[in-house]
């Protein structure tokens, strides 16, 4: 591949996409896209208290169900890290009349998909079926939310698999680094939890863990905590009737559970995870940032596009294209974790010092001098040009945004006004944001690599805490 900037790491960090749009009618040939809007949606609350959003799109005979159960990993203490992910897996291990295998067959025999997963912000269910199977899709969803079996033996399987997956993760340093980084930056706050848990949180008293998971499963699936979007090819009237029947009872919609008091991330300090056999050194560095609700969000996005948000960004151009040090280098603001800023790359062990030095030089020059007018124009065109296919081409993509905005308490203008906000950013704005709101050194650092090589370099960056890759957990909390 030419690029694919380290997909493992992107996944591990669960970076939130920070932009989106749905397009106007097709523009005249030769004109660039002018504006973008979320498609029209119908919103309702079922008598049971469940919120429902309908995003019809009849182009393809498929229907997608997107469910968000706010809470997620943010409700897990470090001792319970990974609980939300376990609950997500457990929910589809048997529901209603079906045991685990029967449930999976019901989905897969129809050519459907029914995935459950956890992020820091919510447990999610992403399902998609042929349009003709909408009744089946709704009944399976109702079974999972209203009648999960929560069987003890199935929980044990789920936990054992999660522990095994931690072993596998330890063989993939570029993917594992995200866990170490979050722990290093946020310590004992839930934002520092490894999404899949660790040896201690999963390996303790199984009955206590199952009790905590059961409580969380009951809590998070309450009708008032369910946010459902249905996207694709369906008849609204018939679907409303189907949902009302499948989710009976009365209740009130609940506010999303609060996130424990938001911490300031670590400023400075180096975590070195020793892997003596590693052929490469992997590292991430960064510090406090600000999130997408800030008035400087558009400027932040344009600034990061130039620093490390696209292939020709300064970081990737220097480290990859010009120096041949790496396959990829990039930077992000983590909107799931308060907009913390980080940049990431890797290089062969013998060139570690060169790579670290170059990354620092580029970052320092960026935050001291800002960007040029040409760069701003290029970033603005790029962000707008990629917006439709990346964010709003399919009904399911639009549904993801509708849910995210609603749960976050953001208005549709977050999408509909995005191009206008991008257009309003001046060179002075963007350079003020770069100079004043990107974190200054000392940055926090996390390395996975051979300590014999990395330690002397790390010592030049701050106080070093060294641990073994093979040690349980993902660093000091």
């Amino acid at each position: 591949m030419k690029r694919a900037l380290v997909p493992g790491v992107v996944t591990a960090f669960v970076a939130l996409a920070s932009t989106a749009f749905a397009q106007e009618p097709a523009p005249a040939a030769g004109a660039p896209p002018a504006a973008v809007r979320l498609p029209a949606t119908e919103e309702l609350v079922l008598p049971c208290g469940m919120r429902v959003f309908l995003v019809p799109d009849h182009e393809t005979p498929l229907v997608a169900l997107r469910v968000r159960l706010p809470g997620g990993g943010n409700q897990d203490t470090p001792a319970l890290a990974g609980r939300a992910a376990l609950v997500a897996d457990w929910l589809r291990r048997g529901a209603g009349e079906r045991d685990t295998l029967a449930f999976r067959r019901a989905v897969e025999d129809a050519g459907g998909v029914f995935d459950t997963y956890a992020t820091a912000r919510w447990i999610g269910i992403d399902a998609e079926f042929l349009a003709e199977d909408a009744p089946l899709a709704v009944s399976l969803l109702a079974d999972v939310l209203l009648r999960p079996r929560l069987d003890a033996a199935e929980f044990a399987k789920s936990r054992d698999l999660a522990l095994e997956q931690i072993n596998v993760l330890r063989t993939e340093p570029n993917a594992a680094l995200g866990n170490y980084w979050n722990a290093w930056l946020f310590g004992a706050h839930p934002w520092g939890n490894p999404a899949g848990g660790d040896e201690a949180s999963l390996g303790g008293d199984p009955d206590a863990l199952r009790a905590a998971a059961t409580e969380f499963a009951r809590e998070t699936t309450r009708a008032g905590n369910v946010w459902l979007a249905v996207a694709g090819d369906f008849d609204s009237v018939a679907l409303r009737a189907l949902l009302t029947e499948a989710f009976p009872g009365t209740g009130e919609p609940l506010p999303p559970p609060p996130v424990p008091a938001v911490p300031q991330p670590r400023k400075g300090g180096v975590l070195l995870v020793d892997e003596p056999d590693s052929l490469q050194t992997y590292f991430t560095c960064g510090g406090p940032g600000f999130d997408r609700t800030d008035p400087d969000h558009a400027a932040r996005h344009l600034a990061n596009t130039i620093l490390g948000g696209r292939f020709t960004s300064r970081l990737n151009r220097a480290l990859r294209t010009e120096a041949g040090l790496t396959y990829g280098a990039f930077s992000r603001f983590d909107d799931v974790r308060g907009g913390a800023f980080w940049m990431h790359t890797f290089t062969q062990r013998a060139r570690t010092a060169e790579c670290v030095g170059m990354a620092r030089r580029i970052y320092r020059e960026f935050v001291e001098k800002g960007m040029t007018a040409d760069e701003l124009a290029s970033a603005r065109t790029y962000v707008k040009g990629q917006f439709a296919p990346d964010e709003l081409e399919t009904a399911a993509q639009s549904a993801d945004w509708v849910l995210d905005l609603a749960i976050s308490g953001l208005s549709r203008d977050f999408i509909d006004g995005w191009f206008a906000r991008l257009d309003a950013v001046t060179l002075d704005d963007v350079n003020r944001v770069i100079r004043e709101r990107f974190p200054r050194e000392p940055l926090a650092w996390a390395f996975i690599g051979p300590a014999a090589v990395v330690r002397p370099i790390a010592e030049g960056l701050g106080e070093v805490t060294q641990i073994e890759l093979s040690a349980p957990g993902f660093g000091p909390r």
């Binding site: 591949m1 393809t60 999976r104 067959r105 698999l161 040009g385």
Partner: protein, 455 residues
Amino acid sequence: MRRRALSWTAGICLAGALAGAARAADPAPDVHEHDLPNGMKVLVLEDHSIPNAALYVMWRVGSRNERPGITGIAHFFEHMMFLGGHRFGRTFDNVMEAAGGSNNAYTTRDVTCYQDWFPASELPLILDMEADRMSGMDFVPATVQSEREVVYSERRLDMEEPEVVLDEQLWAAAYTAHPYQWDVLGWPSDIEAWRQEDLEAFFTANYAPQNAVLVLVGAVDADAAFAQIEKRMAGIPRGPERRPVVTREPEQLGERRVVVEDTSGGVPIVMCAWHVPASAHADTPPLMVLEHMLLGGESSRLHTELVEGEQLCVDVSGGLQGLQFDPSLFVVTCTLRDGGDPAAAEARVRAAVARVAREGPTERELRAAQNTLRASILRRMKTIDGKAEVLAETEVFFGGWRRLAARLDALRSVTADDVKRVAAAYLTERGITVGTLLPRAAEPGDDEDAAEDGR
């Protein structure tokens, strides 16, 4: 290949969806097809759902067109094509991103594919850029050297993934003659050793317009878009005819085994591989059903038995290895639990295969496979990118995009006996290659690089 496994299933399915959609409304999907005099095939499909377009240029060149000593050069070329055009040269990416476009590329054992995604209004510029790099390359030594390091970095990522290391050894053992025996990224010694003249010769031999298919899908006027394509591409001269890949892998005469000792602290892995026909062969549809019943999803036989039932494995995966011009492999990969017994996993896989060869699939399994294949088509059809990819794949691998409907029909008409027959014919004891990754503790002295780095 695994870089970006081209999915046979996806290809067929998409094809089917296009064809199916067409059947409802019109005799054929509204693909505009043109053959340029230089041999390049051009397909254009209008789609105005977003104001963007996707352009695929798929070249019939992959690692199967290499030879020992220059392995990995097709993939290296994929990188160089962003750095060496006469007009745009190293500014290729800067120009494209400044116009609101992005791009990527991938290389498989069989093809190299370049993808551009851009506002439809920028079509003239994007075509200028594609025509420029088709017309010739400047190989600046400093650029070659730097990009060689990038590719090596990509290769090192693979070398740190135990499953990838085992996969590479598996193919090297299963093939003795055919160029599928080496990985797309090439052997490290070859990456270090390509010379300028190797690059020039490879470009001339392979990057000729008659080896390319160009597919454009998006918010364009098809006739106007084709006129723009013709204006820029038709003048590129037809190249010399290549020597075809003539080597046929001789029949495997008995079981082969390969072991990789792994010190990374990971878990055991077992891979079982069998030789199967090329993607366009009539036995591929029943093999797809076989793949689905063994490995497709969590209700598949091997997942149910090995991951859930006996809990011997963390994961089972694999099957057909994407789209290929020549006879390829069907691979079952078992990632074991910590301390799990590889021999037990291998025995289970072999027994499951033998049972299909004896009994075939159940009616439920056959229907589930066919439903899943149909739905996966439709899923790919939701985007302009998916449509472009399926058109390109079908054109290149199945003898023309119009074969879409026929391929889907072939899938629909697979019977239980077909599946039984292909399992018995191809997944044989005589033709199996087994790869095993065995964890072992690292010993002092393993880490030879450390001293060197320390200097």
